[in-house]
């Protein structure tokens, strides 16, 4: 799996660290901490380019095929 970092270009996914679902607010502290949509198909998620520019990225990825659909800086 390869992810195209907006700052560093296309890199192997091993350079990145995974956080999980990009949707971090779910209405209550309990839901935000513990509940997940966990969809099949496209999933917006947070990755950090820890072995590169260290930016947090929001990646849309198909979790059934591992195809990376879009990458942007998180919070943009």
């Amino acid at each position: 799996m390869r992810i195209t970092c907006p700052h560093c270009g296309e890199r192997d996914s091993r350079e990145f660290s995974y956080y999980g679902d990009a949707k971090t607010a779910r209405g209550s502290d309990f839901a935000s901490t513990y509940l997940r949509d966990n969809p099949v198909g496209d999933h917006a998620e947070l990755w950090q380019h820890v072995m590169g520019c260290r930016a947090w990225l929001e990646v849309v990825r198909n979790v059934s095929t591992h195809e990376v659909i879009s990458v942007k800086e998180a919070g943009q």
Partner: protein, 416 residues
Amino acid sequence: MNYSVLDIFKQGLSGNRGWQPLWRSPAPKPSYDVVIIGGGGHGLATAYYLAKTHGVRNVAVLEKGYIGGGNVGRNTTIVRADYGQKGNSAFYSHSLKLWQGLSQELNFNVMFSPRGLLELCHSDGQMESFSRRANMILARGDAVEMLDRAGVQAYAPFLNFDSERFPIRGGLLQRTAGTARHDAVAWGYARGADRLGVDIVQNCEVTGFDITGGVVRGVETSRGAIKAAKVAICVAGRSSQVAAMAGIWLPIESHVLQAFVTEGLKPFINTVVNFGVGHFYISQSDKGGLVFGGDLDGYNSYAQRGGLGRMEHVAEAGMSMIPALGKARMLRSWGGIMDMSMDGSPIIDKTHIAGLYFNGGWCYGGFKAIPASGSAYAQLLATGATPDYASAYRLSRFETGHLINEEGTGARPGLH
């Protein structure tokens, strides 16, 4: 028919032409007392114990694919009871006891082989932490022992005792742990349940629930609507999707875990070794293949196949602890989808919808749990309450704070 040595002898003389299929393939009836969604190990075991222990025989097991085609056929077959946390320890202890008599119980050889499980320690701190866990296991009455370095060397001489980075300091050994034949477990429970009257319906996908007024009335399936007084969800790898059809939001993320097997070799590894610090574990199958694996790939996935990065990491960890592994050729690799709960422990509970029950979130510990999970889930379905050994696996524990977090890593499933 009941299998016996005499049968095998008679069938051998008559060219093995008299064997019958292990279970029927009935069309689904319009209505059942209990419908179990998912014909994996847990679903089949639940059906078996419902019929056997509780006399509930008007039961259907609905399987989207075929029996043995899901995670029950994709795991590395390890059975152990080395958990320390309250809630987990009694459960896995009970499961191991059921494994010991399972072949006799089912009249089907599940090839349970208590060949031992060794967890390696590499530092004084790790020795102390494992000794604490060993004491907890001893205190609840199960067998375990701590080995020093010389003890590990005598028990598993094939390990790398010259490693500078991960010097072997000792290990936790559970001699009663081991492996079993995964397909046989599915087939044995399926045959046992079928013989007691349970309908096992394959190629039958559940597409929706019939819920009115907060009470479940049945399920919609690819083979028509089926009414049921009780519906039991038991679908490892698809828990979130099935629960979502009933409007239930789960504390679960699905991740992929890879496993690998080499070509068949002569007997070489006579136990199960867990090199936890390196995220590597290994055993040797009865066919001779070395079966090994490591950690999750680390990101959400439903792909049933993993990335090369994790494969490389597992190979490196394996080579560092068992250098001889480099002589073997890898035959194949595969991935299974793990429904990772937010504390690393499973859920067996009622839901807020009357008559709808949930069993899932087994992370990567589902195989060894099959007998106890089936027996606990069956008791919940039949009587409305789980037995003591499974009573901590509540769906509400995430809200009430009664987490069972064996690894102490918080709500990060990728780290469990």
